[in-house]
């Protein structure tokens, strides 16, 4: 984290020289709608001893508001790194990431936290619910961070669980008392808690059987139809069928 935190300053200078070039490329890929996520020549380099590993090697693209995007790639292709960038969990070694038109490199930890809290809902392959909290409390967590009152939280969390099609009798269940599909629904309800414009899903069907996976993707499609931008990282071609746009990534570079 420290590494990436200190680097943006130096990146910015380099970037101004190249931004014109990549700006054009970005525009070409974009429709007229305002892009909600924008990456310009993003590099993420990990240093392992003497070796430099290019997890992302000059990635540029933009995602317009309301799109349903899959980022496809095999494991180790850099797609998870990309997801972390968009999710404001990681900062690029060089290049620019803009979320909702805010340049992340200009933000400190608190700024990143705020952007993350208000713009991004995360859905993970492992569901990543907090095991000691009930379904309802898990959904309340992001709202708590947003400073909402407890009565309002409860009401909203129940609404979100309903939106995610979780039978309400499970609201008081702990994660280990629910099936994988139910847990993922709770996770989606949690991701929706603060009405983020972007849903970021990392292999959301990876731990689910085909039928449940299909149901979850249908749910994401419904949410997308209602206006949420959905970005799904996957290597599963079946998931791609739900998307409007697909970004393919290989060895840290976009191939299509």
């Amino acid at each position: 984290m420290q590494q990436s935190k200190s680097s943006p300053g130096s990146i910015k200078k380099k970037k101004t020289a190249t931004s014109a070039k990549y700006g054009k490329a970005v525009k070409k890929r974009l429709s007229k709608t305002h892009p909600i996520v924008q990456l310009q020549n993003v590099k993420r380099i990990y240093t392992l001893g003497e070796n430099k590993i290019y997890a992302l090697n000059g990635v540029s693209f933009a995602i317009k508001k309301g799109d349903f995007v899959t980022i496809m790639g095999s494991s180790g292709s850099g797609k998870s790194t990309l997801l972390n960038m968009i999710g404001c969990l990681d900062l690029p070694t060089s290049g620019k990431v803009k979320v909702n038109n805010v340049d992340l490199s200009k933000l400190d930890d608190d700024g990143l936290t705020a952007i993350r809290r208000n713009n991004i809902g995360f859905i993970f392959q492992q569901f990543n619910l907090i095991p000691t909290l009930t379904a309802l409390e898990n959904v309340e967590i992001p709202m708590i961070f947003n400073g909402e009152s407890s009565a309002k939280r409860r009401k909203k969390a129940l609404a979100m669980l309903k939106k995610a099609d979780l039978p309400l009798e499970y609201a008081d269940h702990k994660p280990n008392e629910m099936s994988g599909g139910q847990q993922q629904r709770v996770a989606i309800a949690r991701a929706l808690a603060n009405n983020p414009p972007i849903l970021l899903a990392d292999e959301p069907t990876g731990n689910l059987d085909t039928k449940t996976g299909h149901n979850i993707m249908e749910l994401l499609r419904e949410l997308n139809a209602a206006g949420t931008t959905v970005i799904v990282v996957t290597h599963d071609p079946k998931v791609e069928e739900y998307a409007h746009t697909t970004i393919r990534i290989q060895d840290g570079e976009i191939i299509g």
């Binding site: 999710g87 995360f122 907090i130």
Partner: protein, 385 residues
């Protein structure tokens, strides 16, 4: 309720076994702390009651270059009016040779006014045989220590010959025997002030005044007041520095030991919380991804260590007080140590101090793991665990 508190409580509730173990670790340390603090307080109180209670708190002696205090009645009146002085006892003391049958002994003889000496030094309490008050109305009488009596084969009613160069030899009748448990028992005999003055042939003089104070901690202050009148005066802390030294050594060694115990308990908290942080890496990552700020994460773990510390402090103190009181009520074999039970004093101030210090120490101990948790990289936390 703040959510940091909610999450911290959930953590604590979810790991019952670790919670009990870490509270017990702190609790045991605090219990030891509480018990030894009670012993320390009891020991100090016992030492005070055995020594300082029976010591003159301030001793007034003649002016420099003088052997005696003349016109002492005026001075005694003046001193009695000093605020904080509750009793005074003028005395004339000196050396004398004692002879009974074939036994001889050199010892100190102290001429006193029986009731006033008792008011200052509780001399009457030490009498094991005979009648102390007889000293008031019967001339030519003497009170000796039990060791003195043993050495000289003396008993109540015997007459001992007392003499000294330049003194008027006299025969004194043993009217009482005392036992203080100190070396005075073989080296000091009491007689009436009048008898002592006759013996040394010094009419109407004394060579010292013992004082008892309402608060023995004011000894130096009152000694100074009396010195301002032109006499030499010294408090018990100057006359018996070994008592203060004993208490100081006890206190210091006690506190050092207690400090180490607390340190161990605090390290217990650090390692427990560190383990908690390691076990919660993924959860912390999730919370960060859900929009928790670093300071929230830090607060969660600080609250946890605070709660563990407070619980440990409260349980430990309760257990310590119970243990100390039960040890304190256990009867010792009679006469073996000169006390019936181990002296134990539980002071509410000690209880509150210990709880506060342990609580604060645990908060401090929680800082490192809390900071570690706050500085976790959410990406690594979520993906690698």
């Amino acid at each position: 309720m703040r959510y940091e508190l909610l999450i911290a409580l959930r953590h604590i509730k979810a790991r019952k076994r670790q919670t009990i173990l870490s509270v017990a670790a702190i609790g045991i340390a605090v219990m030891i702390l509480m018990v030894s603090q009670s012993f320390m307080a009891g020991f100090t109180q016992e030492l005070y009651s055995k020594t300082i209670e029976n010591l003159p708190h301030v001793v007034v002696s003649p002016q420099d270059d003088e052997d005696y205090v003349h016109l002492y009645k005026n001075i005694v009146d003046k001193i009695n009016n000093v605020d904080g002085v509750v009793a005074s006892s003028p005395y004339l003391t000196g050396e004398a040779s004692f002879k009974f049958k074939d036994n001889t002994k050199n010892a100190a003889i102290k001429g006193i006014i029986a009731s006033r000496e008792d008011a200052v030094s509780h001399t009457k309490d030490d009498i094991i045989k005979g009648n102390y008050d007889e000293l008031t109305y019967s001339d030519k009488s003497i009170i000796i220590g039990d060791k003195f009596a043993e050495d000289m084969e003396l008993d109540i009613g015997d007459n001992v010959e007392v003499s000294f160069p330049n003194a008027n030899p006299v025969s004194l009748k043993v009217i009482a025997i005392y036992d203080t448990g100190t070396e005075l028992d073989s080296s000091l005999a009491y007689t009436s002030l009048k008898t002592a003055q006759d013996f040394y042939d010094t009419e109407d003089v004394i060579n010292g005044i013992s004082l008892r104070l309402a608060d023995f901690n004011r000894d130096r202050e009152i000694a100074q007041l009396i010195e301002d009148y032109g006499y030499n005066a010294a408090g018990w802390t100057d006359n018996n520095p070994e008592i203060l030294r004993t208490i100081a050594i006890e206190t210091v060694s006690n506190n050092v030991t207690l400090g180490f115990i607390l340190l161990i308990a605090s390290f217990g908290v650090v390692s427990t919380l560190n383990m908690v942080v390691m076990g919660k890496v993924k959860e912390i990552g999730i919370l960060l991804a859900m929009g928790a700020s670093k300071s929230s994460i830090r607060t969660i773990f600080l609250i946890e260590s605070g709660i563990l510390g407070f619980a440990g402090a409260v349980f430990g103190t309760a257990a310590g007080v119970a243990l100390a009181l039960s040890i304190g009520s256990y009867p010792l074999p009679e006469g073996a140590y000169g006390i019936d039970t181990i002296p134990v004093v539980v002071r509410i101030g000690d209880v509150l101090t210990i709880i506060t210090i342990v609580f604060l120490l645990n908060l401090l101990a929680g800082l490192y793991p809390a900071q570690r948790a706050a500085n976790l990289d959410p990406v690594e936390a979520i993906s690698t665990h």
